[in-house]
């Protein structure tokens, strides 16, 4: 299996590009600076709006509500960018560097807790995932908690200090993991702490730092493809990743280069 780069979306952010997400229609949402930008399936800018703080992550709910993760809070916008609600909760202590949805619940990665908090849609805290499992929680020397959610609601969290992607039930039970350290074999994760980011679609997609690369694994942990490696700035890390392979059926993979401040778009090469 191989991928090709089909597009680059650049010039949209001035200082930071922290998060990418897709909605059910295949539209791309990008978080950076203190803004959310929306692009159509061809990568054309459609709209953008300001948040109250620098945005660290973004996710789009099934009903089109756009969740923006910030320091100690989550802002919720409607599809047009109108602020509907701001969540502040005593559980949200650090930066909210990842957001997602599992069933009716909202998931938020908290860098202070080094874990994922689960809330109901009204913002009521339900439980924490990955904190005490088994000892020190998610090991995130990079300062970012990131995860993806499978179609059945299973949570796939990057645990870079352990060179793994860990699989959790919404209730917090650790179900298993894929990944291992290897500084030479591309099937492994190299460096001190990889993968930094993860997304779930028809496969497990991961990004790494030093050197930056994007890979796809099957759910048993077998490497399917090194999607890209050489096009990213060598100094970039915490490259967020989103996929739309359930949305538009083309299996698009979006990766945010945090130094070039560009989103690279990949598609699988049809054989």
């Amino acid at each position: 299996m191989s991928y090709r780069q089909v597009e680059t979306i650049g010039g949209q952010f001035k200082t930071t590009l922290t998060g990418v997400a897709t909605d059910a229609h295949g539209q791309l949402y990008a978080a950076g600076d203190s803004e959310i930008a929306v692009f159509d399936t061809a990568g054309r800018p459609r709209r953008r709006w300001a948040a109250s703080q620098p945005v660290l992550s973004v996710a789009v709910a099934k009903d089109g509500a756009v969740f923006a993760g910030e320091q100690r809070q989550i802002e919720i916008f409607d599809a047009t960018g109108k602020l509907m609600r701001t969540w502040r909760n005593q559980k949200l202590v650090g930066g909210v560097t990842a957001l997602g949805f599992s069933g009716d619940a909202v998931l938020a990665g908290d860098t202070w807790y080094r874990a994922i908090h689960r809330f109901d849609r009204d913002g009521k805290f339900l439980n924490t995932i990955g904190k005490d499992n088994p000892v020190n929680g998610l090991l995130i020397p990079n300062g970012v908690v990131d995860f993806g959610v499978g179609l059945n609601g299973t949570i796939y969290a990057a645990n870079p200090g352990k060179h793994r992607v860990e699989r959790y039930a919404p209730g917090g039970e650790l179900l298993g993991h894929i990944g291992r350290f290897d500084g030479n074999d591309p099937a492994g994760f190299t460096g001190c702490c990889n993968p930094t980011n993860v997304a779930i679609g028809g496969a497990i997609y991961t990004t790494e730092k030093a050197g930056p690369r994007v890979k796809a694994y099957d759910f048993e942990g077998k490497l399917l493809a090194v999607i890209a490696a050489d096009i990213f700035d060598p100094n970039c890390k915490n490259m967020d990743i989103a996929v739309s392979d359930a949305g538009d059926g083309r299996g698009r993979v979006y990766v945010a280069d945090t130094v070039k401040l560009a989103i690279f778009v990949f598609e699988p090469v049809k054989v």
Binding site: P134, R180, F181, T190, A210
Partner: protein
Amino acid sequence: MSDLTRRDIVRGTVLAVLGGGAGFLVKKANGQIVWQVDASRCINSRLGETGVAACNLCTTECVVALSAVRAVNEHSKCGRCNICPAYFNITSAVNERGYPSEKLCPRDAIARRPIGKVDPEDPANNFYEYVIDETRCDGCGKCAMQCKEPLGLGSITLRVRYDKCVNCNRCSISKACPHNAVVQLPRAQAL
């Protein structure tokens, strides 16, 4: 002011320069002016340099045996990683325990031990402290190069140790450093 001649101005300037120089030498003799490595210039620690070999001029050029430069780990910045690229040679073969089979430091000057709440079952669950043995370290810079961003967090940098430095008037490392990373500073401003 009308009596001020050109000769007076030159004399004043010369005296000021001589006075400043003398003051500098007194401060230097008293240990108030020291040589230090500027981490933002040192190629082993400055950001933006990736894929280059570590520079070891601090080891080879210093007139002091084993060099006056040491690698220093600023623990508050350290990620306490399970697999630290400054400790392990991360491109060496993976052993049966899943770890790199070789250490990086040629003088085995870094010690690794678990800290905090320790999981006895799975060493990958733990945080680790990396302590540099300064009796062994010769400032070769390999660990600093591997620790810097984005591979590491940049907690390890090279520093001149004042108890070892003989404070030469013209530091031989400074002369050799292609990046002018060894500089003289008032001690209060130095690390």
